[in-house]
Symmetry: C2
Subunit: 235 residues, 2 copies
């Protein structure tokens, strides 16, 4: 029996063995929601990098640069971290280099995994189906906020756990998977209410990006399953 586990923040990743497993990285607000959107609407490639310096350097290689720190666009880059920015027609067929406070760091910490898959509510069912077709155990890595637990990533983890376990094809590897699923079941009737109460949604609300939160709470808008290959997202 395959198992599904949930790592509630990258600060707990040392407790998990990634080798031989598929890791789903999730940063609902907003890194992985942006990546899913970008890949779905025709961005040619997205390259997640951990630091602002790496991101800036990729400008010279023809990448459009997207950078966020502390919820806001970082100075001197082409874009911030809104899924709507990824829908700009001029990005179609072009490449984006991206760095964010939490999401891209979580990706770079997952290198030992068999596959690194980008998850969001926007591609929830597509990710679940992709994992159900493969033999590997799954770890869902919540990007959190600067190493701290957050609500929206855990809710996504719960939604994915529910899809993977409901027909008995995966079993719960630990209590975090059980807890995330229980939270999602409780929240799913009014996900926006839950999301609005999260600390990061409040942080973003102060920055005026409520529209982004509503967009990122949508389920199954896209059917793409972005995965890392040689440092870039492919679908």
């Amino acid at each position: 029996m395959r198992t599904v586990d949930v790592c509630l923040t990258p600060d707990l990743l040392h407790q998990y063995e990634l080798a031989g497993k598929n890791v789903v990285v999730v940063d609902i607000l907003r890194a992985t929601s942006c990546m899913v959107t970008g890949m779905a609407v025709g961005v040619a490639a997205i390259k997640p990098v951990a630091s602002l310096e790496e991101c800036a350097d990729l400008k010279k290689q023809g990448y459009t640069t997207a950078a966020e720190r502390n919820g806001a666009k970082a100075e001197g880059f082409d874009m911030g971290n809104s899924p709507f920015e990824y829908m700009q027609p001029k990005l179609k067929g072009n490449k984006v280099a991206v760095t964010t406070t939490n999401g891209t760091l979580a990706i770079s910490k997952s290198v030992d995994a068999d596959e690194i898959i980008i998850g969001a509510f926007l591609n929830l069912t597509a990710v679940a189906n992709y994992l159900l077709e493969r033999p590997q155990d799954v770890i869902i890595l919540c990007a959190g906020w600067k190493g701290k637990f957050n609500l929206e990533d855990t809710l996504f983890a719960g939604a994915l756990v529910q899809k993977l376990t409901k027909d008995g094809q995966f079993e719960y590897a630990c209590d975090a998977a059980l807890a995330a699923e229980a939270m999602y079941k409780d929240a799913s009737t009014d996900l926006m209410h839950y999301m609005r109460n999260s600390s990061h949604a409040k942080r973003l609300g102060r920055l005026g990006v409520v529209k982004d939160i509503e967009f990122c709470a949508q389920h199954d808008t896209y059917a793409v399953v972005p995965r890392i290959q040689e440092g870039e997202l492919v679908i």
Copy 2:
């Protein structure tokens, strides 16, 4: 406004500032449930220590020794980690030195706090009332299982968060407090069902201590609020 925060495992304790705050340590299955029981039924003092060696050494100073590793009684000690062992009449007025896999370690990591308070479902309301009467912010530290998140400690955290926030006397410091409360609300109608599904309850079930789990899920059996003073529990 005072705040209440939840640290989901000791592996995340580096993210929290303990100085000036009250920390409630919880290890429902079973260390803090044992401590509350022992102090309530008349054990004179309980000294939590991190290592088996420290615990064994205290035998010479007249302590009864209680030691648990991996859910079972450790070889060569007087007692294991069952609340029923703490009810033995011969312990009345005597001192117990105790070390466990998770609970005593969580206590030793909390030394920077203003007060270290021992919480369990068994003394939930008493702990809540104690905290409500004091000016300090509160951090609830879940002992977890070898650094991993667990269900039953998080459910207790949620129950305590609910009591502290319900009249607006405390506010949520972070998403972990919100999530724990949501889990407890969902679980409280059938706490034993939840508890039985937890990984540690399954571990203990294999060790034949289902009776302990049922006892530890009881609310408000005792009104004591054990606190650490000079390395020992007082009430």
